[in-house]
Symmetry: C2
């Protein structure tokens, strides 16, 4: 609904900042291209960099520790939702897969908000492509919690989870390790992350190919095995066109869903 | 001030979407790099793509036309300020130089908001560099209104304004011209814009060099003549490192000022 005084009465709301570079990637997809400024979608984004680290919180909870407010992502996420509600947003998404571990809490607390889930959107995209098997590239929190594997199993899709060795490489690509002088997406070192993610993706494709007595090229060409970029910071970094061609990038599919909602808002 | 329930009690506010690609560039500078998500600045951004075109409104007003609400940028800008106020922001900036034509109206209407001006920030940056002359690369609205030339003259800096022919090339680089199949930054064609902006910048540097009986290289090396990227969509496109080395990019300097405010917020 248009409202010239306050722009759009109900802009879509985005919780970004988890991490910041991922939401820049998200916005690039969300904006797309248009002929005039006025044809682009409108939205409000909170760079909620104050949300506690999601994977750390997951591990602590699993280890039986009680989280303080400062260490519990739910408090920051709740704050970001309140900020977006105040700004007039009713359709809200979170540009972070692992944050979706707290989605059910937010839904309970804000029953009148429509949360658009990155998990649902990504699983729908894979079903539409006719995916039979998916390699899960994500944070340890997302993988261990079963956020994706449960939803994919329910959709009849087989999931491949990185070995511990591969997962360590992915963790390093996402977070970096300043004490070891290792850079990652969250520290701004996209190139170092790209090298790690690409190596793991090809190694896992190779293992699947060997099991099927096929070449990696044949597996890729089959269009049955996909890569799931299920951390928003994985799609930021991987630039190999062969890998991208068989990838469902959760950042991109969530942005497409939000773009559609924003443009519907504009027309109504 | 920290407030775990609602994130930061007073996040900085950004009016983006004029155009959208410019604010992505702005956010990249604003975020910078950090070791952890939690070390990045927090902010709220409105993608106010609904704000009417600023240069069109300037021309219409100059031609004595009365603007409708839909054609008057003030209505959209006011809406974006209200959205940011509701979201708890008190320090607000606009990622668009031409929009600053309406800044005095906004200041009058919202006297309790601290608006950080892109003009003031850019002129301060030029003064700090010891600039004596500046080539103004901006929209026609920004140039003709004297937004920069008045402030620069007051600071004792000589301004060079593009000829009509050059300004047309800059306009095309910013807006493109779909009817002529010409792309620009606002339509997503960064490369086409880069070609136009770079050509004009070198041509104007060459004219200054001839007048001084020097080579372009000598003028550049003197560090007395600067390029002012005074439309946020010019810095997005120009990638020539020689030009960037003598440029004050209004997007970058405004982002640096806002980043400082955001990090001060975090610490206090």
């Amino acid at each position: 609904m248009r409202n010239t005084l306050s722009g759009l009465a109900t802009p879509i709301g985005i919780i970004g900042g988890m991490g910041p570079h991922a939401h820049l990637d998200f916005e690039k997809y969300l904006l797309g291209t248009a002929e005039h400024d006025q044809d682009y979608p409108s939205y409000v984004l909170v760079n909620a960099s104050y949300v506690a680290d999601r994977t750390t919180a997951y591990h602590a909870t699993k280890a039986g520790q009680l989280l303080s407010q400062a260490d519990n992502p739910l408090y920051g996420l709740r704050g970001a939702v309140i900020t977006l509600l105040r700004a007039g947003c009713q359709k809200i998404c979170m540009v972070c897969n692992t944050a979706h571990l707290w989605l059910s809490h937010l839904k309970e607390e804000f029953p009148y908000v429509e949360f658009i889930s990155i998990i649902d959107t990504s699983v729908q995209a894979l079903k539409k492509l006719g995916a039979e098997e998916v390699i899960l590239l994500a944070t340890e929190g997302t993988i261990r919690s079963g956020l994706y594997s449960n939803a994919l199993s329910a959709a009849g899709i087989v999931t491949h989870i990185p070995s511990i060795e591969y997962q360590i490489a992915i963790n390093e690509g996402i977070y970096g390790d300043p004490s070891q002088h290792i850079g990652g997406v969250k520290t701004g070192d996209i190139q170092a992350a790209n090298t790690r993610f690409t190596r793991v993706a090809y190694a896992m494709l190779n293992e699947i190919a060997q099991r099927k007595h096929k070449s990696v090229q044949e597996v890729i060409a089959s269009k049955r095995v996909y890569l799931g970029f299920f951390c928003t910071e994985i799609g930021v970094a991987i630039d190999d066109p062969t890998l991208r061609a068989i990838a469902v990038d959760s950042t991109e599919v969530l942005a497409a869903a939000m773009r559609q909602l924003a443009l519907e808002n504009k027309e109504s």
